[in-house]
């Protein structure tokens, strides 16, 4: 029996090996045939974005028979986890969607290739693009990322709610005092929230200082740079007042509801008159709220006599990773997203206002009211904004996730510590985490 078994085993093993070999070397199999070159691409976003992006990739494939795409997409948080795993395995996609907050971290780890040469030889045509829309993708003087669209922080106003309450629409130079007043008015007159979630977000914290001409982090990104806790403490106190007056959702409500889909946003449900978001996200909110409602976008409030809280930000980029074997072909794809009118007719500024002026012009007649409003809003911000702050430091994600959100924002707004104590914790723990990263 055993002998027979072994012979049998070897025979089967031989067969299996032969089968494997025949698959690998068979004529006409993918490995030997003239195969199209495969580019891998990955992005984060909503279903809306996935559909649009896939459509554009298919269009590109149809026009370039030599190129084939494999793509992956996820939500924002899983995206970075998945990319990090692939970075560790040495198999990053050719093209990745990149975020302003992660640029320094990725450059520091040498995971992206500079694109300057591709711009110089015209593979990526940025000749008519204003410098301000390109420079956000630079780290240490080199261009690592091509801006897919501009946006800015914004307050979305439900203009019908304003009309009903008899509140005049705020001016773009409105202040946080005006904001508080208006929010309270909605509570008193209409019994709804004046504004929705996320006014305690780290982006707002940064903007409090941007409006005072300061950047919160030091040049080397290893410590906090602002000397004065006052603006942050004042802001937290205002939020506590509004939360107590039930004029904005409490952080408790925000935590228990917020992470659900966009349909749960108070402004979408008609429970709030204003909401805070990046301007390109307003499109999705308005879509979720349904037809027959009217909106306007306005600047983030600023301190009395302060500079604009807003700055023009690249909403996201495409980068080519250092694992890519075909950077030139990948660069051509990025050019297609940047400069092709037909591609942008599908993308429809969903990633922010396109950086190429000719694309902006081509899209304008096609846009829905809210989409058009985001384009106009970004133009308004362009003429009334603070300069783009430096990219976030390398340890920023760790800072936000381990200090700002749990130890400061949650602790203060859930009433565990006072705003003053919160500012102290931010300083002590924040500096420790920022200094820690190697």
């Amino acid at each position: 029996m055993p002998k027979l078994g072994r012979r049998e085993f070897l025979r089967i093993a031989g067969l299996a090996a032969a089968a494997a070999a025949s698959v690998r070397y068979a004529p006409g199999s993918p490995a030997l045939a003239q195969t199209p070159l495969t580019l891998r691409i990955m992005w984060w976003g909503s279903k809306n974005r996935h559909d649009r992006t896939i459509k554009v990739l298919e269009m590109y494939q149809a026009a370039h028979p030599g190129i084939k795409f494999t793509y992956e997409f996820t939500g924002f948080n899983d995206y970075w986890t998945r990319l990090a795993t692939q970075a560790a395995g040495g198999n990053l996609p050719d093209i990745i969607q990149q975020d302003y907050a992660r640029l320094v971290e990725w450059e520091g780890n040498r995971l992206m290739v500079p694109l300057d040469d591709f711009v110089k030889d015209g593979t990526i045509d940025l000749s008519r693009v204003p410098k301000v829309s390109i420079d956000g993708g630079r780290v240490n003087g080199k261009l690592y990322a091509i801006n897919l669209g501009n946006n800015s922080q914004s307050i979305l106003l439900d203009t019908d709610a304003f009309k009903r309450a008899g509140v005049p629409l705020p001016d773009q130079k409105w202040t946080w005092q005006d904001f508080e007043q208006i929010v309270l008015t909605f509570r008193q007159k209409q019994g709804i929230f004046g504004a929705g979630y996320e006014f305690s977000d780290q982006q707002v914290w940064k903007s409090l200082y941007i409006a005072r001409g300061q950047w919160v982090f030091s040049r080397d990104g290893r410590s906090l740079a602002v000397a004065d806790d006052g603006p942050f403490v004042e802001h937290l106190k205002m939020l506590l007042r509004l939360q107590k007056a039930e004029a904005i959702p409490s952080l408790q409500q925000e935590i228990s509801e917020y992470h659900q889909n966009i349909e749960a946003q108070p402004i979408v449900q008609g429970k709030a008159a204003m909401s805070y978001q990046w301007s390109n996200q307003a499109v999705a909110e308005a879509a979720a709220a349904g037809k027959g409602r009217n909106y306007k976008l306005v600047h983030l409030p600023r301190p009395k006599g302060g500079k604009p809280s807003n700055y023009l930000k690249p909403s996201q980029f495409f980068s080519i990773t250092s694992h890519s074997k075909h950077p030139k072909e990948a660069a051509a794809v990025i050019d297609y997203f940047t400069n092709s009118v037909e591609a942008n007719r599908v993308l429809m500024a969903e990633r922010g206002v396109p950086i190429a002026p000719k694309i902006q012009e081509a899209l304008k007649p096609l846009l829905q009211p809210v989409e058009l409003e985001t384009v106009r809003y970004v133009a308004r911000v362009q003429t009334d904004s603070s300069p783009l702050p430096p990219p976030d430091p390398e340890a920023f994600a760790a800072f936000q996730n381990n200090v700002f959100n749990p130890l400061v924002r949650d602790a203060v707004l859930l009433g565990k510590i006072s705003p003053e104590e919160g500012a102290k914790v931010l300083r002590a723990e924040g500096n420790r985490v920022l200094a820690q990263k190697s």
Partner: protein
């Protein structure tokens, strides 16, 4: 094959035979047959575990693939420079030491109801076991979010009986952890089945004898059921305790990966995950994992040691 097995089993030739067989052709075939499992075990279990032990002493960051040896710095930082670490330890103990006793009590109570020879008792057993089959997965945790949401079932029920119905169960630091404890208790099915098996093994004549001696319901429970059930309680306690220290999915989904509010859902495995897969500090996460392993092992050993004082094995008496 059969003959060789017999040979190895014979004590007088045991050592010799074993030596010969190891080199012999029969064993090769055997190893080839279990090769898929062996390869899987080494590639996916043993080597990663060994690697994580090494990584625990490095500053390995997934994004920068060159780890540097940092000695015990990860452990130092964990114990003295990381406030959230101790929060996660505290919350994990809180969770384990509340959810496990509650779950066991619940499981035992239901198992006792199930022993009664009623109609449809089999159906009930299956029905109550169901949560354990579907439990501890993503879908259930998502459902739990809905149930305890501000517009969820719990608040809707409270509203119908006129109680305050706007509590943010998941956003309030005082209640959020209890929603996760409730979810853990709800998955009482497998300890219940084990209790059920244990209860059936208690001889009926002991109850009869006790009843004749005038023992009431309570006395029969505390004097007969509980002592004879202690081995089963012991087993369930150990298994559930280990489960309690490694709970992840429910806290991850319910807090959307953050551990909020106020880090009350920041259980140890969730924080470990955050460190490894969100902050990409794999070295630190590996160090945390080894501390978890050691603590769980120590705790289990402690329970084992204590068992001599409270676990009663019937045959010892004989």
């Amino acid at each position: 094959m059969i003959t060789s097995q017999f040979r190895t089993a014979r004590p007088e030739t045991g050592r010799q035979a074993r030596g010969r067989v190891r080199l012999g052709e029969h064993n090769l075939a055997g190893y080839l047959f279990i090769a898929p499992w062996l390869i899987g075990f080494f590639a996916f279990t043993f080597i990663p575990i060994a690697a994580s032990l090494v990584l625990a002493f490095t500053n390995y960051n997934i994004l920068s693939p060159l780890p540097h040896w940092v000695g015990v710095r990860n452990f130092e930082r964990m114990f003295s420079h990381d406030p959230r670490y101790w929060v996660s330890v505290r919350q994990t103990f809180y969770f384990a030491f509340t959810s496990v006793p509650l779950k066991l009590a619940f499981a035992l109570a239901l198992a006792m109801l199930m022993t009664a020879p009623r109609r449809l008792v089999g159906v009930y057993r299956a029905a109550y076991y169901l949560p354990s089959i579907v439990g501890a997965n993503v879908a259930v945790a998502v459902m739990w979010r809905q149930i305890f949401g501000t517009d969820g079932v719990v608040n809707a029920v409270l509203a119908t009986v006129g109680l305050p119905a706007h509590t943010s169960w998941l956003g309030n630091p005082a209640t959020a952890v209890w929603t996760v404890i409730a979810l853990a208790v709800w998955e009482f099915g497998s300890p219940m089945l084990i209790f059920l098996a244990g209860l059936k093994q208690i001889p009926a004549e002991l109850y009869e004898a006790a009843a004749i001696d005038g023992a009431g319901m309570l006395a029969r429970f505390t004097r007969v059921t509980l002592p004879l059930l202690t081995p089963i309680i012991f087993f369930n306690f150990v298994v559930q305790m280990i489960f309690g220290f490694t709970v992840f999915t429910s806290a991850f989904i319910i807090s959307n990966g953050t551990g909020s509010p106020l880090d009350t859902l920041l259980f140890y495995p969730l924080y470990l995950y955050q460190k490894g897969f969100r902050d990409f500090e794999m070295g630190y996460a590996a160090a945390m994992a080894w501390v978890l392993l050691v603590v769980t092992a120590l705790l289990t050993a402690l329970i084992f040691k204590s068992s001599r004082y409270w676990v009663f094995y019937a045959q010892e008496e004989g």
